[in-house]
C-alpha cells in the first residue's frame, strides 16, 4: 500500500448556519487519482477549497505529509489548483502565465524557459508562448491552466471541475489527456466533478458525496457494481432500485417473487433495497422468468435497446441488445451475482449517513 499523502481529519464547515461538511474524514494516497463525486451542494468543492487553502474548516485538521497545514495560507502549500473557469491571467501572455509561479520562486531564466517549453509540449500546445489567453479556445485555455500548475512540480494537483465548460468531444479527449499526464508526472490528483462518467473513466478511487457526507469510497468498479446505498446506486449510472425483503441468507423477495442472491448477514425477513442494473436484467420467455411482465416502452440507443417492462407493479428499466416489441409478454431473470442488496435507510436523514471506510 502506498503512503498516505493527505489526511482530512474531522473536517466540518458551515456557511451562514448551513452545514456544508459534517465531520468528514478522508485520506489520499500518494500517486492516486481520487475523484470527489456528487451533485452540486454536496460539499465536494468546499473540500477541495479547504485542501487548497482558500477556505478554513470550522473544525478538523488537514494533514499533508504528516504536517498539519490547516492554517497554512494557499501560497505556502506544496500543491496547485486548476480552477473551473481556467482563471488565467488575461493581461499576460501564455509564457508569462506559465512562468508566474516559477518567477515568484525566483528560478533562473534558463530554468523557467526550459519549463515553459516542457509544459507546453506536455499539453500539446508547443509554440503558443506569445499568444494571449483570450485568443485561445476553452480547451486550450484549460490545458494552459494545467501547464501553469504542473510546472511548479506540486505533490498534489487539485482540479475543480476543469472540464465542465468544454463540449462533449473535447471533454472525452481531455479525460485521456489527464490520465496520461497523471501517469507521466507521477503527481497525486484530486478531481472534483458531478459527472459520474468522468469519474468512472479516470479515477483510481471515487468518493461519492451527498449533503456534506461521504456516501461511499471505492474503486470505480466497486462503486458501480456494489453501491452501498440507494443514493450511490442512483447517482452512478441507471439502475432499478426496488424495495424488497431479505427472506434469509442468499434469498430475497422482490415484488412478491423470490430471487436467489449472494448476499448474507442481513438477517431474516429484513426490509432492504435491491439494485439491479438495467444491463443485468435478462428478458426471457414468460414461463422461464422469475417474474413476468409486458414491454411498455422501447427506444433504440445505438449499442442497445432501452426498454421498460411492467412487471408486478414496477417499471423495470432494461438494456438489451435483443429487441422485444411493445406489448410482448416477457419473463424477467436476474443472475444472483447481479442483485446488489443494500440496507434500507431508517429515516430521511439516513439517506446521508456517514459511512466510514
Amino acid at each position: 500500500m502506498k503512503n498516505v499523502l493527505v489526511n482530512l481529519e474531522h473536517i466540518s464547515k458551515s456557511y451562514d448556519g448551513q452545514m456544508i461538511l459534517d465531520d468528514l474524514n478522508l485520506y489520499i494516497r500518494e500517486n492516486e487519482f481520487l475523484t470527489l463525486l456528487g451533485p452540486s451542494g454536496c460539499g465536494k468543492t468546499t473540500t477541495l477549497r479547504i485542501l487548497g487553502g482558500f477556505e478554513q474548516p470550522d473544525t478538523g485538521r488537514v494533514v499533508f505529509e504528516d504536517k498539519d497545514i490547516t492554517n497554512l495560507p494557499a501560497n505556502k502549500r506544496q500543491l496547485n489548483t486548476v480552477f473551473q473557469k481556467y482563471a488565467l491571467f488575461t493581461h499576460m501572455n501564455i509564457a508569462e502565465n506559465i512562468a508566474f509561479g516559477l518567477k515568484i520562486k525566483n528560478k533562473s531564466k534558463a530554468y523557467i524557459d526550459d519549463k515553459i517549453k516542457y509544459a507546453l509540449k506536455l499539453v500539446n500546445l508547443d509554440g503558443y508562448e506569445k499568444r494571449m489567453p483570450d485568443s485561445l479556445s476553452g480547451g486550450q485555455q484549460q490545458r494552459i491552466a494545467i501547464a501553469r500548475a504542473i510546472v511548479n512540480e506540486p505533490k498534489l494537483l487539485l482540479l475543480d471541475e476543469p472540464l465542465g465548460a468544454l463540449d462533449l468531444k473535447l471533454r472525452q479527449d481531455m479525460q485521456y489527456e489527464l490520465i496520461r499526464l497523471k501517469n507521466e508526472l507521477g503527481i497525486t490528483f484530486i478531481y472534483v466533478t458531478h459527472d459520474q462518467e468522468e469519474a468512472l473513466t479516470m479515477s483510481d478511487t471515487i468518493v461519492v458525496m451527498n449533503q456534506g457526507y461521504i456516501q461511499q469510497i471505492g474503486s470505480p468498479e466497486r462503486i458501480y457494481n456494489e453501491p452501498e446505498n440507494a443514493f450511490v446506486a442512483d447517482f452512478i449510472g441507471e439502475s432499478n432500485i426496488i424495495g424488497a425483503t431479505m427472506i434469509t441468507d442468499r434469498l430475497v423477495e422482490i415484488l412478491g417473487a423470490r430471487f436467489a442472491c449472494v448476499d448474507e448477514g442481513f438477517g431474516e425477513n429484513k426490509p432492504v433495497d435491491v439494485v439491479i442494473r438495467p444491463e443485468d436484467v435478462e428478458l426471457v420467455k414468460p414461463e422461464e422468468g422469475t417474474i413476468s411482465g409486458v414491454v411498455s416502452h422501447i427506444i433504440f440507443k445505438g449499442v442497445h435497446y432501452e426498454m421498460e417492462v411492467q412487471a408486478n407493479g414496477f417499471e423495470w428499466l432494461v438494456h438489451s441488445t435483443r429487441m422485444f416489441p411493445v406489448g410482448t409478454s416477457v419473463g424477467i431473470k436476474v443472475d444472483p451475482f447481479n442483485i446488489q442488496i443494500m440496507n434500507k435507510p431508517e429515516s430521511e436523514d439516513e439517506e446521508a449517513t456517514k459511512l466510514d471506510e
Binding site: 480552477f83 491571467f89 520562486k105 500548475a149
Partner: protein
C-alpha cells in the same frame, strides 16, 4: 417607422449644442475683432499671466488627481470585497453628497473653512491652532478632491469587481503573497479603471473655475477663471476662445493617452 428616426433628437442635440458651439469657439479663437484670420489669440497663452495660470491649473489638477487616486483605490478595494448588502449601503453614503448641487457643496466648504467658520470655531474651542487654508491653493485642491473623488472611485471599483475571485486565488495558489498578488495581478487588471478615473478627475479639475472662485478667492487665477473672465468681464470672446482651444489640446492629449492604455474600454464606468 425607420429605426434611424429615433436617433434624430440626439442628432439635433449634438449639432445644436456640441458641433455648432465648437465651430463658434474655433471661429472666434482664430479671428480678431475685424473678423480676419489670426493666431494671436492662441499665441496669447505664452504671455506670463496666461501661461502661469495654465501651469498652475495643470499642477493643481495633477495634485488633485493623485490624491483622488490614493484615496479612491483603497476605498474601491474595500468596497469590492464587501458583501452585496453591506456595500450598497456604503456606496449610498458615498454617492449621497453627489445628489446635492455642486455649487452648494462647494459653498458649504467655503462656510466650513472660513476664518471664523465652522472648523475654526471648533478648533478654537479645543484650543487648537486655526486652520487658515481658505483662499489658498490648498483649499482649491481640497474642493477638487472632494467634488471629483466619486468619479475616481466608481471606475476603479467597477474594474475591481470584474476580476474573477479565482484569478486572485490562482495567484495565491502559485505562491504569490498578498503584496505580489496585488502588484502583479490586481493592479494591472484594474488599470483600465484607474486610467478612466484619472481622465474623469483630471479633465474637470483642469477646466474648473467655480471651485477656484469660491475657495481660492479672487487672488488665485486658474486657466478656467482667465477664460471665464475674458467672456464675462473683459468681453473679449476672441481671446477667451483662443485660450479654450489651447486648453482643449491638453484635454485631447489626456483622452488619447487614456484610450491608448484602455484599449478594451473596460473602465468606462459612467
Amino acid at each position: 417607422m425607420n429605426k434611424k428616426m429615433l436617433s434624430l433628437p440626439y442628432l439635433f442635440w449634438c449639432v445644436a449644442f456640441i458641433i455648432i458651439p465648437l465651430i463658434m469657439v474655433f471661429y472666434y479663437g482664430l479671428t480678431d475683432k475685424t473678423g480676419a484670420f489670426t493666431l494671436e489669440n492662441i499665441a496669447a497663452i505664452a504671455t506670463p499671466e496666461h501661461s502661469k495660470a495654465l501651469w498652475f491649473s495643470l499642477l493643481l489638477s495633477l495634485i488633485s488627481t493623485v490624491i483622488c487616486l490614493l484615496l479612491a483605490y483603497p476605498l474601491a478595494m474595500i468596497l469590492s470585497k464587501m458583501q452585496v448588502n453591506q456595500h450598497s449601503f456604503i456606496v449610498l453614503i458615498f454617492i449621497l453628497p453627489m445628489w446635492m448641487n455642486f455649487l452648494l457643496r462647494t459653498i458649504a466648504w467655503q462656510t466650513l473653512l472660513e476664518k471664523s467658520g465652522v472648523i475654526n470655531t471648533l478648533l478654537d474651542f479645543l484650543h487648537l491652532p486655526a486652520l487658515e487654508i481658505i483662499n489658498t491653493p490648498y483649499a482649491i485642491v481640497l474642493g477638487m478632491v472632494y467634488n471629483f473623488l466619486p468619479f475616481m472611485v466608481l471606475p476603479i471599483y467597477n474594474s475591481l469587481t470584474k476580476i474573477d475571485n479565482n484569478v486572485i486565488n490562482a495567484a495565491r495558489d502559485l505562491g504569490a503573497d498578498s503584496f505580489k498578488t496585488f502588484t502583479r495581478i490586481i493592479l494591472p487588471l484594474s488599470l483600465p479603471g484607474v486610467i478612466s478615473g484619472i481622465t474623469m478627475v483630471f479633465v474637470p479639475a483642469l477646466t474648473t473655475f467655480v471651485i477656484s472662485t469660491l475657495l481660492g478667492g479672487s487672488k488665485i487665477l486658474l486657466i478656467g477663471n482667465v477664460i471665464e473672465q475674458e467672456f464675462t468681464v473683459t468681453n473679449n470672446w476672441h481671446l477667451g476662445s483662443g485660450l479654450s482651444i489651447v486648453l482643449m489640446i491638453f484635454i485631447i492629449v489626456n483622452m488619447v493617452l487614456s484610450l491608448v492604455f484602455d484599449k478594451e474600454g473596460e473602465g468606462n464606468a459612467l
